[in-house]
Amino acid sequence: MLSREDKLKMYSTMLLIRRFEEKAEELYMAGKIWGTFHLYIGEEAVATGACFALRPDDYITSTHRGHGHCIAKGADVKKMMAELMGKATGYCYGLGGSMHIADLEGGNLGATGIVGSAIPIAVGAALACKLQKNGRVVLCFFGDGAANTGAFHEAVNMASVFKLPVVFLCENNQYAMSFPVHKAFAIPDIAERARGYGIPGVTVDGMDVLAVYEATKEAVERARSGLGPTLIEARTYRFKGHSKSDKGVYRTKEEVQMWMERCPIKRLRALLIEEGVPEEALREIEKKVEETIEEAVRFAEESPEPDLERARCMVYA
């Protein structure tokens, strides 16, 4: 059973993800962040609920829409913000940017900009966990789009036949860029794919952090006990566009509105109040999150630019 503290921590994490993204968007509009990035706003319950089911020494792999995964796994938002600004103090010395944040010490084996390509890597990490008998589990985040790549099929099958300690968590946010899941899949639930690989498949409400937590917890326990992988499909929605260049022509305002009403943060907040948490305690968390973000921006802005010669030395070990 989750304690009140646990739920408050979840609330704080989800809020931190949300504010980080809102701030990143603001900085992008102000020209302080360039390139592009993919906002996770609306999907916070998935990363938060899933990572909450992990031990600190477990691993994750992430996607191009990875800020939420990093934060939920315990990343330092100062280093993340610095990375988004391309600074030397960023997680990747400003060389990876938004889509390639890794925090190996924190168990985040990295995000990838190629859809589906981290799935085999997660399987390899799980293989290493098995060979090293370290009792750890790998949680592999990917989107609905990735579930149609060859890498997904190869990797899930391999993990299943080898009974590896990995959890495949598909964040079905309804669109692979502009392509809706109902056109991309000939089956109603992505979780059904699990049957073809002989593993359990479950679909959960990705707007409900507690549901994601419960499903992941069960899958993590199964993985840790040597029974192999599980495929979890978390139904969620990104409130914003695919990336910063998205004009949003492929979905209706009504649809977006409908999902926004199901905001996972509002939902948990309402639940906490219903369970008797005083508003004051929540406002305290909200204030703290704001401060953390402001501090991250300050840190990133004051950080130095990376050096080309040092970057050159990073190509080879």
């Binding site: 060389l95 990876g96 890794a102 990295g110 390509s117 990490a125 290493a128 966990c129």
Partner: protein, 327 residues
């Protein structure tokens, strides 16, 4: 005591066995590498010695094989992946090119992807278009990868041991026609460092730069030319990336004429890089333009007569060398 001779395939197997015995983090992963012993028999006997945990037979899933190697390497393992034919590298190109090669850099120099991807390359077995590729030039172009192409059993063993111990992703190209060739390999432990070339034959009239099977053909050609009084120096870079520029350049400064011999189609392949290197850094020493002798612009044909003609043979090398000396 006479020097021990083993085949190229045995030399590779010895390297794998010795490194697996030495370091428990080394394991093998690939298709049919277990009971079957690998499509070319390279991994025979290793399953019996090391068991299924360290000689991992996989489904036909090239992307997952290399991806799994990368993921395991991120946790400190040293996997050696086998891709059954070099042509199949296209199936795991994303994992090799976008993941293995870039991860360290993109993660700010913090990750190590110490994997070796071994793969048989080259034509000459009648396997036609999908099993005869020499795609090494695709990978030499990728910062973050090392590319090794040994020509002899001695080099194959010593370089593979170095590759396994290297903290970077290494593409290890094994020419199919070399597997059964024999050569001296000492009993005792040794390694050949990556990035160090070797003069395989000394000469003063002409330098031939060649790697992989073209070293053997160039040495044969040199033997023929020697009977005509032409002294050919054969330089084998052994590692294409990093490339030992100095061994090549010092030979050119001595002989003043260069023939670069390689198997992939002539246009845009790695041999062109060697030619460019010499033009840039040893132009003043050249008595004639650098000549490239590469493959024809054609996918490997099935017909044995045609297949033979698409890649440089001994007689082609002899002919090109004679022409170069006349110019």
């Amino acid at each position: 005591m006479p020097e021990r001779e083993v085949t190229y395939a045995e030399a590779i197997r010895e390297a794998l066995r010795e490194e697996m015995r030495r370091d428990p983090s080394v394991f093998l992963i690939g298709e049919d590498i277990g009971v079957y012993g690998g499509a070319f028999g390279v991994t025979q006997g290793l399953l019996a010695e090391f068991g299924e945990e360290r000689v991992i037979d996989t489904p036909i899933s090239e992307a997952a094989i290399v991806g799994a190697a990368i993921g395991a390497a991120l946790l400190g393992m040293r996997p050696v992946a086998e891709i059954m034919f070099f042509d199949f590298m296209t199936l795991c190109a994303d994992q090799v090119v976008n993941q293995a090669a870039k991860i360290r850099f993109m993660f700010g120099g913090k990750a190590k992807v110490s994997i070796v991807v071994r793969s048989p390359a080259g034509s000459g077995t009648g396997a036609a278009g999908h099993h005869s590729g020499s795609l090494e030039s695709w990978f030499t172009q990728i910062p973050g990868l090392k590319v090794v192409a040994p020509a002899t059993p001695y080099d194959a063993k010593g370089l593979l041991k170095s590759a396994i111990r290297d903290d970077n992703p290494v593409i290890f190209m094994e020419h199919k026609l070399l597997y059964r060739t024999k050569g001296p390999v000492p009993e005792e432990e040794y390694t050949v460092p990556l990035g160090i070339g070797e003069v395989k034959r000394k000469g003063k009239d002409l330098t031939i730069v060649a790697y992989s099977i073209m070293v053997l053909r160039s040495l044969e050609a040199a033997e023929i030319l020697a009977r005509e009084g032409i002294e050919v120096e054969v330089v084998d870079p052994r590692t294409l990336r990093p490339l030992d520029e100095e061994t090549i350049l010092s030979s050119v400064r001595k002989t003043n004429r260069v023939l670069v011999v390689y198997e992939p189609p002539r246009f845009g392949a790695f041999g062109a890089e060697i030619a460019a290197l010499i033009s840039e850094k040893a132009f003043d020493y050249l008595d004639a333009p650098v000549v490239r002798l590469g493959g024809l612009e054609m996918p490997p044909p099935y017909n044995p007569h045609l297949e033979r003609r698409i890649v440089p043979q001994v007689e082609d090398i002899v002919k090109a060398a004679r022409e170069l000396l006349r110019s």
